[in-house]
Symmetry: C2
Subunit: 418 residues, 2 copies
């Protein structure tokens, strides 16, 4: 009988402290997005598997939690939000003024080997602008991504947003005479270039009729290679965000569906981990939803950013403060005389109605034990209900100072709820 159940590999239990840390990240995602005038939406966690095949090809199924449901439908736990967004935006595109500025915070699932910073389940912030072709929309998203990092407490010494432009690469490749298939192969070579031995890169480029030197020269040309990047850089500089940004054409991002500027946020500590990434994908809404709509967006997962917050002085302190605030208790009502049980219950309700976080003993614990519980709870005050009722004693649990307060004055005596 006593089999101990275990959490599935790659899945997480969020005990209260972990959940408070998660909520700190969610709160900042939500707060910054709202400052940028974005509104929240959410889609289903289960979608037809075909939705992901359409976007990413048949191989995607190997990474999905997919199955056949009791109604014989092929369904998948969602690995990402973009196809759902494209479906939703296309379905009701007449109901909303363009551009749409939408964000979402939700859970995603990928069946892959789990390792540090990568689970089979994770939360992700998704933020997209639909219906706007201008590179200023890309810049707006990049500014938002930078402001997320700043709101967590990171500075320019901690991270960098790197900008590239898929379209510039496509123009480069087309200028060298590559056809569509050649361009796709070429972009894959560039995507993996940093992790591939130089000799191998030379060979791969050579088979496409290209030399490593001309590729390197193109990468070095930076913003000159892309009017869109130049426009974005000017806008971010005007916002005062230039310090957080650099051009790195070496980034092309793996996914095939990007069509213009792309970007990633990296931590510039030892880890060099990617924290967020996105770009322009002007074809996808048409492909998935049957309605042409310009689009750009980015996503940030919860796992890498939370690790990074915990490891970084500044962000770690903000997180700790949020976790502490989450467990905050304003008052413990202590029943010092058993005959006043009803009066104590009434006091508890009065304080909670006023918005205070209030604990009280749920058993008939001895007074000393109640005080011990009050101190362990971290409450600011013990509100002591005894024979003197309607006079109460208010004890400051930090200073241990006590004073008498009439019952009807307790709400005022506690001050406003923080």
């Amino acid at each position: 009988m006593a089999t101990r159940f275990q959490t599935l590999p790659g899945f997480r239990d969020f005990y209260p402290e972990d959940c408070a840390a998660r909520n700190h990240v969610f709160d900042i995602w939500r707060r910054v997005a709202r400052r940028y005038g974005f509104v929240e939406y959410e889609g289903p966690i289960l979608e037809p598997t075909e939705l992901y095949r359409r976007k990413s090809g048949a191989e995607i199924v190997n990474q999905l939690f997919c199955f056949t449901d009791k109604g014989e439908r092929e369904v998948s736990m969602r690995p990402e939000l973009t196809p759902t967004l494209a479906r939703m935006a296309a379905a009701r595109q007449r109901d909303f003024r363009k551009p749409l500025r939408w964000f979402s915070i939700g859970q995603f699932f990928r069946y892959e080997k789990h390792q540090k910073g990568r689970g089979r389940e994770f939360y992700q912030f998704n933020c997209d602008i639909l219906g706007e072709e201008s590179a200023l929309a890309d810049a707006e998203l990049m500014a938002l991504a930078i402001d997320l990092m700043r709101e967590f407490g990171f500075t320019a010494s901690h991270f960098r947003l790197r900008i590239s432009d898929r379209d510039a690469w496509v123009r480069f490749a087309a200028g060298k005479g590559l056809d569509e298939a050649g361009v796709a192969t070429f972009l894959q070579v560039i995507d993996k270039m940093e992790r591939t031995p130089e000799g191998k890169v030379v060979e791969q480029l050579g088979s496409l009729g290209l030399a490593l030197d001309e590729v390197r020269a193109f990468i070095a040309s930076g913003a000159e290679a892309s009017p869109a990047i130049a426009r974005i850089l000017a806008d971010l500089a005007a916002r005062g965000l230039a310090d957080y940004v650099e051009v790195d054409l070496g980034i092309v991002r793996g996914l095939a569906y990007y069509t213009g500027p792309v970007f990633e946020i990296f931590d510039i500590g030892k880890g060099m981990r990617a924290v967020a990434g996105g770009g322009r994908y002007d074809q996808l809404v048409g492909l998935v939803g049957g309605v042409e709509m310009a689009a750009c967006g980015f996503a940030m997962g919860d796992m890498v950013i939370t690790d990074l917050i915990r490891e970084t002085e500044g962000p770690a302190e903000r997180l700790a403060a949020a976790v502490e605030e989450n467990a905050r208790v304003d008052a413990c009502v202590v029943l010092a005389d058993p005959s006043k049980e009803a009066e104590a219950a009434s006091m508890v309700q009065t304080l909670r109605d006023a918005g205070f976080r209030v604990l009280t003993s749920l058993s008939s614990a001895k007074v000393a034990k109640q005080f011990q519980a009050a101190e362990q709870s971290g409450a600011r005050f013990a509100v002591i209900v005894g024979v003197e009722f309607p006079e109460l004693t208010l004890r400051d649990l930090a200073s241990r100072a006590e004073r008498a307060v009439p019952a009807e004055g307790v709400v005022e005596a506690l001050g406003r709820p923080r």
Copy 2:
């Protein structure tokens, strides 16, 4: 190519207004739970299927989104949270002071016919006290459930919390000489009694050696039948919540695992829908987690309560206000002179850094079009950046009053972010 993808039956898209309504419900769940000193936790959305079989028997599988994953594990999308809670609490029970006061807000999945108020996917608030045997813990949860309803804007004219006690029924049945199997059958008869023709009930009771009259007399005895109920009623009355409560022994709740007081919240309009329900389940943590721990809890789903809020004057207005606040924009920055693009971008950043929700045109729209967009956005102010920079014009979009403000004075002129 142009297959239009559809949301799976029983699943929901949350467009921004729906998402704002959902978040209003979540906010109230969270706010009231925190006032009661509860802390939030969360478990995995996917669990071993065996976890649910252990609790509910093999038939439960018919209602599950269950499948075999790529690692040959039998897994299920969770239909409820209690088994996960029992697993988590048992696994780390030494790390937390008792009683645990834990709540959670998450999504659940049941493969069943979907109808109004019942989808294949829903959100649920779960709230439990673990490690406390006293009926005061049950009373605390019932008070919390009532306060959720009050915080939504419902009054005693809208709903009632009905209390019963499974243990009182078990004592009654045992007193009539029924064995364990007989008690289980008997409880099922009582559970369905209101929806069963009287003749059939007489027959079912007769086969157990019982008469309808004695069962009715027991139901009529109300609180006298249960010291636990009497204690709970006294406590809720002391809190000033008596008007929201009634004893109804006719409630036994279907699930077999309840062991003491049980309760449900019903709307007392025409619908008589159950909005929330729960009770004491002192055996389950031992059964699932291998550690004996007294426990009580309740859950409230999002679908029935949201329908009820929308249909009820008072709660509906609070919801509408929350939805409006969600879409609130403080200011639109209007670029009246193209040469001041950088200054406008800087102004946008300054206002957002101060916490305001700010929109601005992302294309090079004409000034008239920008004003139109500003008015449609519902923003309070247009901040107009033109040739007079660093002097700006601040237009109140409701009154259309305008005044000149120096750039460095705009944050102050807008007032604090709401």
